[in-house]
């Protein structure tokens, strides 16, 4: 019973509901997949950004430094200018410092007569961690603190990590629901063709042959639905990629062509969706049909 439809499966496993449901599922899976990949790449971009930021606090900036010749602030600034890996050190203006302290000390912190540290911001371009920097600055001006944005980076990592976990859970749930949909469709097809299958079984059809008929039909329908759903997700993904571009540090491509702006890893992974869906369709229908056939003598 090669390619002919002896079991009448074209009707029993209809080309309407199953592909539609699988298409919806694949659409969600495409979004979930994009979420996984996007949070991974955002995590990378943000972590680089955060860990590249140096904040150097110099307490008692106007006291003499360790040598006693210059003020601490000037000495630290001179040292920073010499250090490899430190780029663009900038003394924070009083206005900026005020802004930073407003939540704690009110709008005019610098006028309260407090002995506030001076704050220098810079970018860290060194290969290793900037810990050694803190030690050497501490020798020049005791109490100098170097904050490498590591805490911020760790928080970003935690956030994007859990976003990735969520996206992975979404993918798993979508896969499970897809399997359930295929099982239900296969059971409905079996119920509708119960007499036919019983007769063919009585004529000596192997369980494997009957299951193969169902599976090939189900796999084709599922694959078609998954291709449709994935393609339907492309414009949405392109739009999301466009929205996310500034955060990922890739910049917005001014010249349209949004579809081709999708990140390469995503474009490379999307074709896996229909393949995975087809796999789910085949395995689920095989298990469902073979289990059902065990009820026949």
């Amino acid at each position: 019973m090669a390619k002919r439809d002896d079991l009448g499966l074209r009707e029993a496993l209809s080309d309407r509901l199953l592909p539609m449901l699988v298409a919806a599922m694949s659409f969600l899976a495409a979004l979930g997949l994009a979420g996984t990949l996007a949070s991974a790449s955002l995590a990378r971009a943000w972590q680089n950004e955060a860990s590249a930021t140096l904040t150097i606090q110099v307490p008692q900036p106007n006291d003499p430094d360790a040598t006693g010749k210059v003020m601490r602030l000037a000495a630290v600034q001179a040292a920073l200018a010499q250090m490899p890996g430190v780029e663009n050190p900038q003394l924070m203006s009083q206005a900026d410092e005020n802004k930073l302290l407003t939540p704690w000390l009110g709008g005019n912190a610098t006028e309260l007569g407090l002995d506030l540290p001076s704050v220098i911001s810079a970018r860290w371009a060194g290969a290793s961690s900037p810990d050694a920097l803190g030690e050497s600055l501490d020798k020049i001006a005791p109490g100098t603190l170097v904050d490498a944005g590591a805490i911020w980076a760790a928080r970003v990592a935690a956030l994007t990590g859990s976003l990735q976990d969520c996206a992975a859970v979404v993918l798993l749930i979508v896969a499970a629901v897809a399997a359930a949909v295929v099982a239900v469709a296969a059971r409905a097809g079996l119920a509708q063709r119960r007499d036919t299958i019983t007769i063919v079984h009585g004529l000596g059809a192997l369980d494997g042959d009957i299951a193969a008929r169902f599976s090939s039909r189900a796999t084709v329908l599922v694959a078609a639905g998954a291709v449709g759903g994935t393609i339907a997700a492309l414009p949405v993904l392109a739009w999301l990629a466009w929205l996310a571009a500034p955060f990922a540090g890739t910049g917005i491509d001014a010249g349209g062509g949004a579809l081709f702006n999708l990140p390469l890893p995503l474009l490379a992974t999307l074709p896996i969706l229909p393949l995975a869906a087809a796999g789910i369709g085949w395995v689920t229908s095989q298990i469902t049909v073979r289990r059902w056939l065990r009820g026949l003598p």
């Binding site: 019973m1 090669a2 002919r4 002896d6 009448g8 009707e11 007499d195 036919t196 007769i199 063919v200 079984h201 009585g202 004529l203 000596g204 059809a205 192997l206 369980d207 042959d209 003598p297």
Partner: protein, 224 residues
């Protein structure tokens, strides 16, 4: 060879309910190439006995051997391959409603992966034998009861089975058609096919004398 030794059959209508014995201690033997009539009143258990032969039921106890194979403890695959060597004419025909007469008859050969050329030759020939060569493309529901029965007979014999099991095969046939069918079956039998036919048609039984298995209320009351 077909051999039954003290075979009992119970239908369990609902799980948990005891079910009653439909066949009680049936024993008989049909040698290879043998011919048997199976008779008995309605409800005696003829169809039930045939179901055991074509592996559609399992006995509650007893020993069954079909075509040299012990029916108990064979794998599902072995059972399927054994079924392919048994031609069955069901009392209720069991044609596939969505297939044409031709495709219904071709089904056993397709299951056995025969080539379409051979299928075409054999199916056309057998449909000519049963007088339906002009109804190849008709669906079962477009055919009379007698024509459906002849399709069912054609399907049972087309793959030249080693064993032919027919349950009331002449129930819907007129006398002439029944004669023609018996010609076909006796020809097959002469070529070596073992045959067992359940029937109420005593005139037919008289006309084609052969050993009889008679059952009443699930018990064998005549063997030979």
């Amino acid at each position: 060879m077909v051999r039954f030794e003290d075979v009992w059959l119970k239908y369990r209508t609902r799980p948990g309910t005891p079910g009653h014995d439909v066949l009680r201690g049936i024993s008989f033997e049909i040698p290879d190439g043998g011919f048997r009539w199976l008779t008995g009143p309605s409800g005696a258990g003829k169809t039930s006995l045939l179901k055991l032969i074509y592996l559609a039921e399992h006995p509650a106890r007893g020993f069954i051997e079909i075509l040299g194979t012990r029916a108990a403890h064979i794998s599902r695959r072995e059972a399927a391959l054994l079924r392919r060597r048994i031609g069955v004419v069901y009392q209720d025909f069991r044609l596939l409603p969505q297939l044409s007469a031709y495709d219904n008859v071709a089904l056993p050969m397709r299951l056995a992966h025969r080539g379409e050329t051979q299928i075409n030759a054999d199916v056309t020939e057998i449909l000519r034998w049963v007088g339906l060569e002009d109804r190849l493309n008709a669906r079962p529901d477009e055919l009379s009861g007698g024509a459906q029965q002849r399709i069912a007979i054609a399907r049972a014999v087309v793959a030249r089975p080693k064993l032919l099991v027919a349950d009331e095969p002449t129930g819907n046939l007129d006398d002439e058609q029944a004669q023609r069918l018996m010609l076909l079956i006796t020809a097959l039998n002469r070529l070596g096919t073992t045959v067992i036919i359940a029937t109420h048609n005593m005139a037919l039984v008289e006309r084609y004398p052969a050993p009889r298995l008679r059952i009443e209320a699930g018990r064998m009351v005549q063997n030979g």
